[in-house]
Assembly symmetry: D3
Homo-oligomer: 262 residues x 6
Amino acid sequence: MNGFVLTEMTWPEVEDALKTARMAIIPVGAHEQHGPHMNESCDAVLATEMAKRLATALHPEVLVTPTVNMGVSPHHMNFPGTISLRPETLLALLRDMVESLKRHGITRVLFLNGHGGNQSTLGLACTSLTQELGVACYYAKTTAAAKKAMKEHIHSTLYGHSCEREVSEAFYLAPHLVRPERLEKGDIVSGGRWEALRPGNPIQGFYRYEEMTRNGCIGDATQASYEIGQAIVEEALEGLTAAVRELLAGPVETAPPTPEIA
Amino acid sequence: MNGFVLTEMTWPEVEDALKTARMAIIPVGAHEQHGPHMNESCDAVLATEMAKRLATALHPEVLVTPTVNMGVSPHHMNFPGTISLRPETLLALLRDMVESLKRHGITRVLFLNGHGGNQSTLGLACTSLTQELGVACYYAKTTAAAKKAMKEHIHSTLYGHSCEREVSEAFYLAPHLVRPERLEKGDIVSGGRWEALRPGNPIQGFYRYEEMTRNGCIGDATQASYEIGQAIVEEALEGLTAAVRELLAGPVETAPPTPEIA
Amino acid sequence: MNGFVLTEMTWPEVEDALKTARMAIIPVGAHEQHGPHMNESCDAVLATEMAKRLATALHPEVLVTPTVNMGVSPHHMNFPGTISLRPETLLALLRDMVESLKRHGITRVLFLNGHGGNQSTLGLACTSLTQELGVACYYAKTTAAAKKAMKEHIHSTLYGHSCEREVSEAFYLAPHLVRPERLEKGDIVSGGRWEALRPGNPIQGFYRYEEMTRNGCIGDATQASYEIGQAIVEEALEGLTAAVRELLAGPVETAPPTPEIA
Amino acid sequence: MNGFVLTEMTWPEVEDALKTARMAIIPVGAHEQHGPHMNESCDAVLATEMAKRLATALHPEVLVTPTVNMGVSPHHMNFPGTISLRPETLLALLRDMVESLKRHGITRVLFLNGHGGNQSTLGLACTSLTQELGVACYYAKTTAAAKKAMKEHIHSTLYGHSCEREVSEAFYLAPHLVRPERLEKGDIVSGGRWEALRPGNPIQGFYRYEEMTRNGCIGDATQASYEIGQAIVEEALEGLTAAVRELLAGPVETAPPTPEIA
Amino acid sequence: MNGFVLTEMTWPEVEDALKTARMAIIPVGAHEQHGPHMNESCDAVLATEMAKRLATALHPEVLVTPTVNMGVSPHHMNFPGTISLRPETLLALLRDMVESLKRHGITRVLFLNGHGGNQSTLGLACTSLTQELGVACYYAKTTAAAKKAMKEHIHSTLYGHSCEREVSEAFYLAPHLVRPERLEKGDIVSGGRWEALRPGNPIQGFYRYEEMTRNGCIGDATQASYEIGQAIVEEALEGLTAAVRELLAGPVETAPPTPEIA
Amino acid sequence: MNGFVLTEMTWPEVEDALKTARMAIIPVGAHEQHGPHMNESCDAVLATEMAKRLATALHPEVLVTPTVNMGVSPHHMNFPGTISLRPETLLALLRDMVESLKRHGITRVLFLNGHGGNQSTLGLACTSLTQELGVACYYAKTTAAAKKAMKEHIHSTLYGHSCEREVSEAFYLAPHLVRPERLEKGDIVSGGRWEALRPGNPIQGFYRYEEMTRNGCIGDATQASYEIGQAIVEEALEGLTAAVRELLAGPVETAPPTPEIA
């Protein structure tokens, strides 16, 4: 891969890269339990790997920053090892990163997110930072664009955490994250309050992950494979690449212009 | 209607109500442009009306608090009259309200929300306040539960703001919000950046409403009717009522229990 | 009444109003117990009604914003139903409102306040926001200007909360707030610590309302009447109208000019 | 004088004092212009002197802490040398002081204030800190209790800053603050916006001191004397002493008790 | 190496580790320019490597958390690529981490720091978090303990950033950080303001790194070697291991016990 | 002494002083226990005295502001009387002071610090305020420059708080701070955790002062003398004077210039 990755560069190399780079990609992950068969760093590692591949596809117009390797994970706190940031901490961290990037001339930022629990915070971050810093901020879930591959390969009705999708992505992108000999289906708690609160129901709210699953997984990780991962990741990268190209083609849109004061 | 509505009660009346009330409903709205045919208070008024009806249906187990009559609306700021709160201000306001309600013995709260731009903030509010205050917090978009009626009556591909859905709801719940003689279709800007950023696309981000629509509406308000409003509202109330009953049937779930310190 | 009231207007109507409007009036109330004979929304409703009447008198030079319908009421928290904001929450809310109004070209703001417990916070808000936002901010207690009528009609030595003054104002402005069949004198606790802390004594401080009155009222609401309300409200409106006209006649005064740096 | 003054004591001496001391007095001043005839430290010095005298009168039941020697003075910022704290900074400072005092067993605090511009902030501080820290907080303007002496000796209609009252107090308490050869009447700007905003008028708001007086004083300092100062200070001390004794006689009243959760 | 490293573990593995682990090591780095011959991730990578080795030496009594991979680097902001956190952001991040660890039963934390610019913030973090969270917090500069090796091998009078010490450490711990073919001496700006502000002078203060060095290095990286790195790292690890063992041998010391309230 | 001392000046006098003054000195102290033989105000008083002498030496180019008379002293909180500020409170206070001074045209500030526990916070303050306010901020420990005198006269291995150095400084600068008849050596707790955490050891961290010394002192105050104080103070003043002159000779250096945005 030949994308610009700031953690692997010296300042004169960054100086060169800034001549062509027009957007920074900030990988955003989490440090949280992923069941008995995945490392707790899963979301941070997958976001980083996706960011590097996206940077390669868009070279030399984007660069990858250091990874935000912890995220908003309060629902996982009762599983050993999870570390969770308050949303305001994540916001402060992103603000400082975007401010620093702006100092180097970057005017567009993409938060490439590997953890669903960060989405609300990233939405607010884009709204606030775009207006306050004058840098156009965007966010994307790493593989949400892979709709076709998901439909074809993912068959669980409840999935999205240490499931066949995520384990497949790891098989393809970072196999060291997986304990293949420990793969398990989600050990779902049926009849729980969580069922009423899932997306698509009339009401949402906070519930703890152990209310939903005893082993910390959902879906069926035993169905995961390298090939499924490849299909998902490559389709997602294609979608992301096209979407970023479109944003780079237009002008930088930031704060609404203030009307004249009478 | 005979629900408990705090703004219309004296303290001895509230004292009585608290003997049976087990959940507070906080209507959350916005003050923002709604095109040439709706008042700017639309979201606050509709949320209040929905809350009162829901309280009637669930009487005497819930009570309605004062309405949060402004919300997070930065994308509407370039239309005259819009007033927008920062997400942290809305969070602070909700925190104080929930803390006060807790002092009166309330242990469950539902944020009943009339404005899409508040959803991320309300999600974070539920997560934070449930854990920090030990009050179980939930949120719901007022009529999101009306899936059947929406499918049957709403035909625009892009809708959700001062459209046939919202104007119909107003015809049924609060007709004074509408200027029937001014009803207009959304005057959509085609080919704009917003098209790439709508929900369901690979990337999301902040855009200004006038990038998408010149008159501040989307969808087709000329298709709105009292009957459509009735169908949507009544189906939504049914769904919300059932969902709240289910939550009231279970125990109060708040902060994750802390494991023993070794 | 024909004043500009933002909650009842569409954006094209606001756009027109902004051609002549030079000041925004923000009604500020509270949600707190008002004894056995008044609704808890009393202060918010009365502030709103006063604002509308003041806007009519000053039409088309002012406009009324949404009402701040909760305030700083910690001293009432032991009476059922009271909801109290921390002063910093109220300040944040007012800041966002004034910032939004400034975006629409408003350069003068009046906080029209119905609740004594908000006065200190509003004073600080004026000082801070005038300097930080460059918008001239003022505050007024709704009927403090009615000195003559007060002297003539109010005979209790201790009054100011759900008393003959406030109930009279409600009879005139919003009679639905009152339970005429429940009118009571304040049930005063004599010999309490509060006596030493009332305004005019050497020392002030925080005390709880139930330290002073068992039923949550002071004064004598049984003496209230529509006529007294009319006398107070009309005198107050006259005073406020004249005072606002004087402020509108001068230049906008905001932050002190910074002296030249040597 | 033989009061307990923390700045002049060693820790074993404080340890002894804490056996009898039941209240701490925190002198609160300002650092701001006081016209051509008084030092800018005036309010801090006078508050300190009053606190020491009050501590002597109430010995051994109170102790005096270090002085808060700057305050909220934005209206004086255009006169050279003024240093102003934001209200939130003053609040943070007081919070830390009260928390520290609580650690040493103090359960009652009196903010003895020499500067009118601090009053709103001190009022909010008492409300917040009493509830949050469980320490009963009170505040008093140093000589506000001297009503009789004021009435007898002060004849300006507009006074209160570097006037005959304040200069007289300084002659009696700290004569080094005064330049007797430079005493001037306030050089008042007539017809200014400030006239509409003085206490007692329908509307209040922020104005700069130079809008009101060209030399930074009001009243008539040339009428000041040691004797007037003595009359004011001694009457005020008598009033304060009696008021504190009354508060010490009762129980410590702090946060409202929370009602039982059903 | 066989230490407990959270990023490489599943939750059941962490659950086992927590049976013996009594301290968490949080590696703290930076993302900042390191001259023309080192990657910008240098401090984060070296801190991580040191933490893993220390965890191996102290196995199974400690565990390593995810790395804080950005730090306080405002003095490097004029070199391309540097990303700097405000001290309050770093503090918030550490607070959330320590709170999360406490939930898992950890009562001692060591911030193992690779970047001098973080030291003040880490000192404050230890003071605040130890008291507020009841977790004993410590901090250490990664190789500060290697006094003997430093004295023997480092001969520059001005060193400490991308110099022979740091490059040697990288040769030994993470050689991919270095561009051996680009090694340069620091290109020092003589006669600058920075000379007056170095540690040991009467006055300190903020200066920009380019005021001191044109190429972003100090010292003489051309003198670096694997052997020097080995000597420094191994001596430092020995010192750190002994110091941690001593802390683990005693009781957990956190907030000062509050004296009895009289 | 004839330096400019703001607390002793009127505004016209300050106006004159600002014609030549180019730097403000802010004395920063503490209010904390100093053993059985020194007043708790020690650090604040000594910092003030040093500032006045430095202002005399540098007259008319500097001026002295009011003293920050409390500081960051959590480690002393278990000794009666100590009052401690949180670091963020001290930062807020300094920010407001520097902002006020900037309004008067001051572009350089020196925090002259008498208390070791403030050093980290002052370092952060210089970094933040220099960048955010565009005022060049510096800090210095009052007598750190007196290296020769220290070496000659101070013989304790552990000293720095109410020891022969500090008591000697007080004998020379402010003898009323000392109880000569109570002078004691530090009553050191041997074998404590503090020994591992002193500066120069591999690990640092927070410990309580009573873990180290039973009487609150270290060193040997019985060795103190006026002459030692004189030697230390005069050498320190000489060093500080020279250092300030050097800073005044150069340009004002504040925030790094932002590179051009491409």
